[in-house]
């Protein structure tokens, strides 16, 4: 972290704008679920905002993203409009997927979000297919594939990274290492010290960075993207981060030692990034304006989700195949 040059002010502002939207959205979801306004299973993303925001700031809207059930941060950072995303989380007909996917299965091709999977590790082989299409098409797109530290223990990780490497696919494998797979610490589940070591073992360019440091994360992301666009193949980025609200909402994180949680809170990426902006002479008023704009976006999105209708029951017969299933 200490060796990385500070990113440009504009880049940091971009990252902050995305990260703050994520932080505020996460907070609002938890609040509304807690108040009974939404009845959904929710996988909190508080603490992982900067990893996503910096990664997505380094790619374009038409680049592809494959992510997982803990994906709100990735989806917002990639640019899915909040209204569409909120409505889908709420299961409404106005959502990205007409309410047929839900929080664990978000798709939004307009912003390159091609798959959100609820199966650990399964996005990795699919990301290869997107990368293969780009390679054949020579469209210069990259695919970012997000997963957690737990995914490196499932077979798809090893099969997928190996294939990406032998075919030099333009894919960035972004392992967001928050130390815990569900309730179990990585040290109790993982034979290697790091996930990056596993990438190296598969012959892949692999780096381990402090994902909570915007400049360091952005530099690693940019380098991986340039590497892929130049036709040099994939990179595994192991981005170290933390999740503050457990595996899913309601989880009290009782399995996380108090000292570890306290340290993580001290390292909370959001206040650090905010302070970095102030240090770069961004005014408090300018930052407050970004935050207020994000709040307004969320106000509107949340209301839209609440006000929208549920899809008609008959909708289940549509989109199973390319023709409607008879009633």
């Amino acid at each position: 972290m200490s060796n990385t040059q500070m990113a440009d002010k504009d880049v940091l502002l971009d990252i902050f704008t995305r990260a703050d939207l994520i932080m505020q959205s996460d907070r609002r979801f938890r609040k509304m679920i807690g108040a009974g306004q939404l009845q959904i299973v929710y996988y909190p993303v508080r603490g992982q905002e900067v990893v996503s925001a910096a990664m997505m700031a380094a790619i374009n809207q038409d680049d592809y993203l494959v992510t997982i059930y803990r994906g709100l941060h990735d989806q917002l950072a990639k640019g899915i409009p909040s209204k569409d995303l909120w409505a889908e989380f709420a299961g409404k007909v106005t959502g990205t997927c007409k309410g047929k996917g839900g929080p664990m299965h978000i798709t939004h091709p307009e912003t390159g979000v091609m798959v959100t999977t609820g199966i650990v590790g399964s996005g990795i082989p699919i990301a290869n297919g997107l990368g293969l299409a780009s390679q054949l098409e020579k469209d210069n797109k990259v695919t970012v594939c997000c997963f957690g530290d737990g995914a490196s223990n499932i077979g798809a990780f090893h099969e997928g990274l190996n294939m990406a490497q032998i075919w030099k696919l333009p894919v960035i494998f972004l392992c967001q290492n928050n130390h815990y797979g569900e309730h179990t610490h990585m040290r109790d589940t993982t034979g290697s010290k790091t996930i990056a070591q596993r990438g190296e073992g598969l012959g892949m360019r692999s780096v381990r960075v402090n994902g909570n440091d915007a400049s360091e994360m952005y530099a690693a992301a940019k380098e991986a993207v340039d590497h892929a666009r130049a036709g040099n193949g994939p990179t595994l980025i192991e981005a170290m981060t933390f999740r503050f609200h457990g595996h899913l909402l309601g989880d009290t994180s009782h399995y996380i030692p108090k000292e570890e949680m306290e340290q993580a809170r001290e390292d909370d990426p959001m206040p650090i990034l905010r302070q970095q902006l102030l240090d770069l002479q961004v005014s408090e008023a300018d930052i407050a304006a970004i935050e207020a704009k994000n709040t307004a976006t969320i106000d509107e999105a949340a209301q839209f989700a609440l006000d929208s209708d549920y899809p008609p029951g008959d909708e289940y017969r549509i989109d199973v195949l390319d023709v409607e299933i008879a009633a």
């Binding site: 494959v66 047929k100 798709t107 999977t117 082989p125 190996n162 989109d319």
Partner: protein, 331 residues
């Protein structure tokens, strides 16, 4: 044309020709699979022989032995407009890739609210009777037919294989196309180059009046043999070759049984919980009061495919089983 001797081709050749045709028609058709390029032999059964020489190894890719990665690469490329044809060498190996096939290929159209689709084809081969034992010759079509969003296809002869595989590749839904190892090198009449068999349409290769034999794949040949034998005794069998197992052509099946008022469903797969149960049940639901007797089922025994020829033969569905079932129903 009529006085010319019809040209014959092998089943494996028909599959090869269907892929060659699809690749020529649409440059988004790509092939993935273990050993499928010519450098590696053009596939373990040579079904893809010559295709990488003609279309290049960018489009005809030999892969590692990684079924999840193969099917995943097919899913991902299909999401953005490709028509990948993934060869899963043997049907048992599909079990290794079931997550990609069942949780992703079959569901992404639905879960995305129709924003994406997965027009991939999985080609796979299987079939018992040649001593391949418990992990190289299972018929698993019922597993797949139970998954909404997947189409399952099986051809019984080379011409249908040609027309059905081409339709499978060009279909906008994920399709599993089941080939049959023991009949790969069996010959049949060659199709016209533009021959197409639509998915979801059964054929009636033999018309009859006393009983309907509803079957697919290798069950069709066995049913023909039995029908021929029984014809000598004045028993008239109609044969329905489903061709597409899921979703199956209910209209043709029900029309036939409404006429014959008796039916046996025949398949090589294990009888218990097989596709025969669904087809039989649909017939009972629609035509119960018209039936001369309950619908019969013929399938293989409730056991893994055995190795030793004596046990394998005893376990496997047979022409004798079909004949016995027909006599029981008409008796």
């Amino acid at each position: 044309m009529s006085d010319e001797k019809p040209q014959e081709i092998m089943f494996a050749q028909a599959c090869n020709m269907a892929m060659a045709r699809a690749m020529a028609d649409d440059d988004k058709v790509i092939l993935l699979g273990e050993d499928i390029a010519d450098k590696e032999g053009g596939g373990v059964f040579k079904v893809t022989a010559g295709l990488s020489e003609k279309y290049g190894t960018d489009r005809v890719r030999s892969t590692p032995i990684s079924e999840q990665a193969i099917v995943g690469a097919a899913v991902g490329s299909a999401l953005v407009g490709y028509r990948p044809v993934a060869e899963i060498m043997l049907m048992n190996f599909i079990t290794v890739a079931m997550d990609q096939l069942v949780n992703h290929a079959a569901k992404l159209r639905f879960m995305s609210g129709g924003q994406t689709s997965v027009p991939l084809t999985i080609r796979t081969t299987t079939g018992a009777g040649t001593g391949l034992g418990g992990q190289h010759s299972d018929m698993l079509e019922a597993w797949l037919a139970h998954v909404p969003g997947l189409k399952v296809v099986a051809a019984s002869n080379p011409a249908d294989a040609y027309g059905l595989l081409y339709s499978s590749i060009m279909d906008d839904n994920p399709v599993v196309f089941i080939e049959n190892t023991p009949t790969y090198f069996t010959k049949g009449p060659a199709p016209a180059p533009d021959h197409v068999v639509p998915l979801g349409k059964a054929s009636v290769p033999r018309e009859g009046t006393d009983i309907s034999l509803i079957t697919y794949g290798r069950g069709v040949g066995a049913s023909h043999a039995v029908a021929e034998k029984l014809a000598g005794e004045g028993i008239s069998c109609e044969i329905i070759d489903l061709r597409t197992i899921a979703p199956f052509d209910e209209e043709t099946v029900l029309k036939s049984v409404a006429k014959t008022r008796a039916a046996v469903v025949v398949h090589e797969a294990v009888k218990n919980f097989g596709t025969g149960a669904e087809i039989s049940s649909r017939i009972h639901e629609e035509l119960f009061s018209d039936l001369k007797a309950p619908v019969g089922r013929v399938g293989s025994g409730y056991a893994p495919v055995p190795f030793s020829p004596t046990i394998e033969k005893a376990w496997m569905f047979s022409e004798d089983d079909i004949e016995r079932e027909v006599r029981k129903i008409l008796g």
